[in-house]
């Protein structure tokens, strides 16, 4: 990281040694600034809101989005995208809650996670082996998964659905009233993803494939293996996110993760990962997820009708992405 800029006059602000290029190279700083601005906006909208309880709530709600964004980051770094994450999240959560009474807490979690891995592997086979475009492939598997879950939900109408205790605690409990338990899931995942992307051979390959797939093949890399594992991990992470969500709401609902698709992609874009791959990282996506969660909170506080909130949400996300694209061009 370069030293701090000398900002004397407007010329040096935008010149080669000035503030703007420094910001371009250190986009994480920009993001954190944005986050602070948004938190400030919350306090402005309703003074006194920002306190430890609010912080705790925000982190609680940000964690599932953050975990979805982790998988999405890993996939987008290879130049792909995963539109099936919300169907997988909902599906895994639903599957888990409906099986708890039949096979017990532990096994129901395992089956839920397995669904994520299976869908991820199907995505991987399509994208990695058959070279199908990720957008289309994951669109298809998303629809497929959603449909399967809907049909399944009608079959098991009779039986009850129960959220396993451990999931409920993780999804909505707090440690010492302040620290949400789901952070204990998010933090290790974040650490693994960040360190993996930076310091593991697999991480290097993810970036390399996103940058130039052909170069990887010429260097002897069997690209399909990496992509297969990558999409499987994304599916697994989506399943985990879904479980945390249902742990929070404590009721299995087919629309559980519905509103998370755009935010999961937006967090990653805002966070600095290029949609074409080869550049970016999860650190930015974390801040992106936090920004979007705070934004959501702001809109909830602002007393306006649902449609206006929706318009504002879409508009602000677009504005953030636009600013970000300009900055990193």
């Amino acid at each position: 990281m370069s030293g701090l800029p000398k900002a004397s006059g407007l010329r040096s602000l935008f010149g080669p040694e000035g503030l703007l290029p420094w910001l371009q190279r250190n986009t994480l700083v920009v993001l954190i600034l944005l986050l602070v601005v948004f938190i400030g906006a919350v306090d402005f909208a309703k003074p006194g809101t920002v306190n430890s309880v609010w912080l705790s709530n925000t982190l609680l709600f940000a964690a599932p989005l953050g975990i979805l964004a982790a998988g999405q980051t890993m996939v987008m770094l290879t130049g792909g995208i995963d539109l099936s994450v919300v169907s997988v999240a909902t599906g895994s959560a639903f599957l888990m809650t409906t099986l708890t009474l039949r096979i017990g807490d532990g096994w129901s979690v395992v089956v839920g996670l397995a669904l994520g891995i299976v869908v991820g592997l199907i995505n991987g086979v399509g994208v990695a082996v058959l070279r199908v475009q990720p957008l289309v492939m994951t669109l298809g598997t998303g629809l497929m998964t959603q449909g399967v879950i809907i049909v399944y939900s009608q079959r098991i109408l009779a039986s009850r659905s129960v959220v396993p205790d451990i999931i409920h605690v993780l999804g909505s409990g707090r440690f010492a009233e302040i620290i949400p338990f789901d952070l204990f899931v998010w933090a290790p995942i974040a650490a693994l993803v960040i360190s993996g992307l930076r310091w593991s051979g697999f991480g290097r390959l993810v970036y390399a494939i996103g940058d130039n797939l052909e170069a990887c093949q010429l260097a002897g890399v069997r690209v399909w293996r990496v992509l297969l594992v990558d999409y499987a991990i994304c599916g697994l992470l989506a399943a985990i996110a879904g479980m945390l969500l249902v742990g929070n709401t404590n009721s299995a609902d087919l629309g559980l993760a519905e509103t998370y698709l755009l935010p999961s992609v937006a967090s990653v874009i805002i966070g600095g990962t290029s949609i074409f791959g080869g550049r970016g990282g999860y650190e930015g996506s974390i801040i992106g997820a936090l920004i979007l969660t705070v934004l959501n909170g702001v809109l909830t506080l602002v007393d306006s009708p649902e449609p206006v909130k929706q318009i504002l949400y879409g508009g602000i996300i677009f504005a953030l992405a636009a600013v970000y694209t300009r900055l990193t061009d």
């Binding site: 289309v136 260097a219 929706q310 879409g314 996300i317």
Partner: protein, 842 residues
């Protein structure tokens, strides 16, 4: 020719990109009737100057004057209007359009192009052939002919002979000389000194963004030009001495490092056998397209071969993937560095890449060991690491060194160097050859192909000559002067002057061009039609199959069912049409459903108490609103440079919110007479008005659009944006207009929703975005863009609507419909991917 005024006068041109200065101050004067060479090493600023002269981007400073009139260009189209046209290394032809359409796109008369093509020796070219089906040298000539046709004042040729066989190159030179005689001028860029010496009158030399000299071309001026480019005096003799200093240490033990026996691959490689020992540098000499590329690809594991064996260190290799070759110690340095390098990553990541190919290496990276190994390789190659953070900041020569550094760090037995010095400045070239000799001296084996025959003796111990996919000669380095090599490379027996000779066109193998030029028979034409438009035949077949199945499942299928089906499919058909149009332009729109909802609720809200006439008027207004919404989408996509996925996901939210603002809950209505436009039956109970409405809309909007210039531009932009831009298309405007028309179709779909449901519902559009996309994919339109039509997706929409209907008839849970829809998409694309893969394996 001695007129005082210069045809082109560029003064003091400067250009920087961020902190990188590409041109400091470059001036260029071209006289009328002159062939002027523009010389310079990689990174000297040549290509930047060329792009400024031809309008790709404006200079930061400086003036350009043509015939003493000051000009400034903001686009290639403007430069062309002023009389400057360039022919780049990549033909500016859109692959998914025909030759004729490409000419139309650039506003060039096909007849003029045809005449120039004949002058260039290409006769009877089928102008209705798709560009993607034609061989590369032919495309370059078409590009050239298209540049010549509008009679420009100045022709800019960038490495025009790079991929041309000798006889075609000679024709190009004849055309250039003819051009000069007419008082027009040519700016000629080439790394081949012999060509420059033979063709050009003067040369301007660039170095580090400044002009360092302008010299007349006379015998002996080559040395002066080279020293100007390098900034110091270097002779090829000196380089040869430096190279010879690394004495060849050919290993005398039995096993060759690489042995190839009886290799055959398609029609390119015909029974090649040779062997290569450790410590030896074996050169491959060949003219363009004699099979050397395929030979190297086979040995490197990039391409499957038909028969033959490859041995590395005595062990037979099964090569299915480059990893297999690398495991055998065979590593490839390709001609095109872009193929091998990660542009956005650092030097270190580029060099270390092969280390992770084994799953066992996916874990934590041994960072210190990596750093040391990379540093050692970088040091040995003397790579300029000033701009370490991103590889793309390095010059071409340094980038190529990184490729070699990668293999130094990874370890290898045999280095396969394929034209590794193509397009690289002379200084770096000599460094690379010196390195090759060093590697051989330390025991490695090197197989080296270079397109510059003079360079063979610089690095090689002996050379094999490839002609028509066969080895026709083997020459020791001492005898490998250019004349001997050229003679052998032409497959000729008699001595030949070391200058390019004109050969009869029949002697050069251009098999594919023959096929493109012959007139096909009727059966072949029919087959070609089906192959070219598979969806035109496939989709209706699929629909008929589904309809047949429906009738079988539900024998009581009556006209009422037919009407219901048509009405249910109508909105989806329009959603599919909208999406198809945008996808063809190379974009995507995830807000289509929301736009439909807006249209739907607007209609239901305003038409509730209206009469038929009023409703029609309102409908027209709503269509305009739809186009406006599409325009906003398009504007945001084009101006903000945010990827269209993100833009339209966001605007989908916005339009959805707008729909909710207009109508909070399902309600409203429209006059029955208006509804009847979709629900009624004008002619027969079997033909719902919906079908008539659909057909009419498509006929009025799509068919004229498809045939128009704008339609051509939309396809061009989706197929190859760069080629379209260079052909003079305003890319931004074309993409924008695609979104406008998409918005129009979406709003018709929304009106269709109003007509078929009778009410407005703000959340009505939710399913149509993704279902429309599904219809597009199943309907055979590639998401890549540039191909396909609206017909397939519209028919697919009907198929997709039939599925839940059939399920209901079969008393199966209609929710399975979604499962089937998703599965259908997955199956269709996976099958498509599978077939493409199988075809490419051939």
């Amino acid at each position: 020719m001695n007129s005082a005024a210069n045809l082109l006068e560029a003064r003091d041109i400067a250009k920087r990109f961020g902190s990188v200065v590409a041109l400091r101050s470059a001036s260029l004067s071209v006289r009328p009737g002159e062939v002027h060479a523009l010389m310079g090493a990689n990174g000297a600023g040549k290509s930047t100057l060329v792009k400024i002269l031809t309008g790709v981007f404006p200079p930061d400073r400086g003036t350009i004057a043509i015939n003493d009139a000051g000009r400034s260009f903001r686009s290639p189209a403007e430069a062309r209007a002023a009389g400057i046209v360039s022919v780049y290394q990549d033909p500016a032809l859109v692959p998914d359009l025909t030759v004729a359409d490409n000419m139309r796109l650039a506003d060039v008369a096909s007849s003029a192009v045809r005449r120039w093509l004949e002058a260039l020796g290409v006769e009877n070219l089928r102008f209705d052939a798709f560009v993607r089906d034609l061989p590369y040298p032919i495309l370059r000539l078409i590009d050239l002919a298209r540049a010549l046709a509008p009679d420009p004042l100045i022709l800019l040729l960038d490495e025009i002979t790079a991929a041309l066989p000798a006889d075609l190159s000679e024709r190009v030179f004849q055309v250039v000389r003819h051009w000069r005689q007419r008082g027009h001028s040519v700016i000629f860029i080439s790394h081949r000194m012999a060509e420059v010496a033979a063709l050009c009158d003067r040369a301007t030399v660039l170095r580090d963004g400044v002009v360092v000299g302008v010299t007349d071309i006379a015998p002996g001026s080559e040395e002066r030009i080279v020293s100007l480019m390098l900034g110091q005096s270097t002779t090829t003799a000196g380089a040869r001495d430096a190279a010879a200093a690394g004495a060849a240490l050919v290993s005398t033990d039995g096993t060759p490092a690489l042995e190839v026996r009886g290799l055959r691959c398609g029609h390119w490689v015909n029974d090649v056998s040779f062997s290569l020992r450790g410590g030896e540098v074996l050169g491959v000499a060949a003219l363009e397209g004699q099979g050397q590329q395929e030979l190297f690809d086979c040995i490197a594991g990039v391409r499957r071969f038909d028969s033959g064996e490859i041995f590395a260190g005595g062990k037979a290799l099964t090569l299915r993937h480059p990893a297999d070759a690398i495991a055998g110690g065979l590593v490839l340095v390709p001609a095109n560095r872009l193929q091998a390098l990660l542009q956005q990553r650092s030097i270190r990541e580029n060099v270390a890449l092969p280390a992770f190919r084994d799953i066992s290496r996916w874990g934590p990276i041994p960072l210190r060991r990596e750093r040391e190994r990379v540093a050692a390789a970088v040091r040995r190659l003397r790579i300029d690491t000033r701009a370490e953070s991103e590889l793309r900041r390095l010059s071409g020569g340094n980038q190529q060194k990184v490729v070699i550094a990668r293999w130094l760090a990874n370890g290898f037995e045999t280095l396969l160097c394929f034209d590794a010095t193509r397009g690289i400045d002379i200084g770096t070239k000599h460094q690379i050859y010196a390195l090759v000799r060093e590697l051989a001296a330390s025991g490695s084996a090197v197989l080296l192909f270079t397109s510059e025959l003079t360079e063979i003796p610089l690095a090689c111990d002996r050379a094999i000559v490839l002609f028509g996919g066969r080895i026709v000669d083997e020459i020791p380095a001492s005898a490998a002067d250019e004349g001997t090599l050229l003679r052998a490379a032409h497959g000729l027996g008699s001595p030949v002057e070391p200058k390019r000779t004109t050969l009869e066109p029949e002697e050069q193998p251009i098999p594919d061009a023959r096929a493109a030029m012959a007139r096909p028979g009727l059966a072949e034409r029919a087959r070609g039609l089906v192959a070219r438009y598979p969806t035109l035949f496939g989709m209706p077949a699929l629909l008929i199959a589904f309809l047949a199945a429906t009738v079988v499942i539900h024998p009581n299928f009556d006209s009422f069912d037919a009407q219901s089906l048509a009405m249910a499919a109508l909105p989806l058909a329009f959603a599919a049409a909208a999406q198809a149009l945008i996808v063809i332009s190379g974009g995507i729109d995830l807000s289509i459903g929301s736009v439909m909802a807006v249209s739907n609720v607007l209609a239901a809200r305003t038409m509730e108490y209206a009469g038929f006439g009023q409703a029609l008027g309102l409908a027209v207004l709503i269509l305009c609103a739809g186009a406006l919404v599409g325009a906003i989408n398009g504007l945001l996509v084009v101006v903000s440079r945010v990827p269209d996925v993100i833009v339209t996901l966001s605007t989908g939210f916005i339009w959805g919110g707008v729909a909710l603002l207009i109508l909070e809950k399902p309600g409203g209505g429209a006059p029955d007479t208006f509804l009847a436009l979709a629900t009624g039956t004008l002619f027969t109970p079997w033909l719902s008005n919906s079908i008539i409405l659909l057909a009419a809309s498509l006929a009025i909007v799509w068919i004229p659009l498809r045939r128009s210039k704008l339609g051509l531009r939309i396809y061009a932009v989706g197929s190859d944006r760069t080629a379209a831009f260079r052909s003079g298309v305003n890319v931004a405007r074309s993409r924008f207009l695609a979104y406008v028309f998409g918005g129009l179709f979406s709003s018709i779909g929304g009106l269709g929703l109003t007509m078929t449901t009778g009410i407005g519902s703000p959340r009505s559009g939710v399913l149509y975005t993704l279902s429309g996309l599904a219809a597009v994919v199943i309907g055979g339109v590639s998401l890549v863009g540039g191909r396909g039509g609206i017909f397939g997706p519209v028919v697919a929409a009907f198929v997709l609507t039939l599925i839940p209907a059939d399920l209901i008839f079969m008393n199966i849970d209609p929710n399975f419909g979604q499962v089937i829809q998703g599965t259908l998409i997955v199956l269709v694309v996976m099958l498509g991917g599978f077939f493409t893969l199988a075809r490419s394996r051939k």
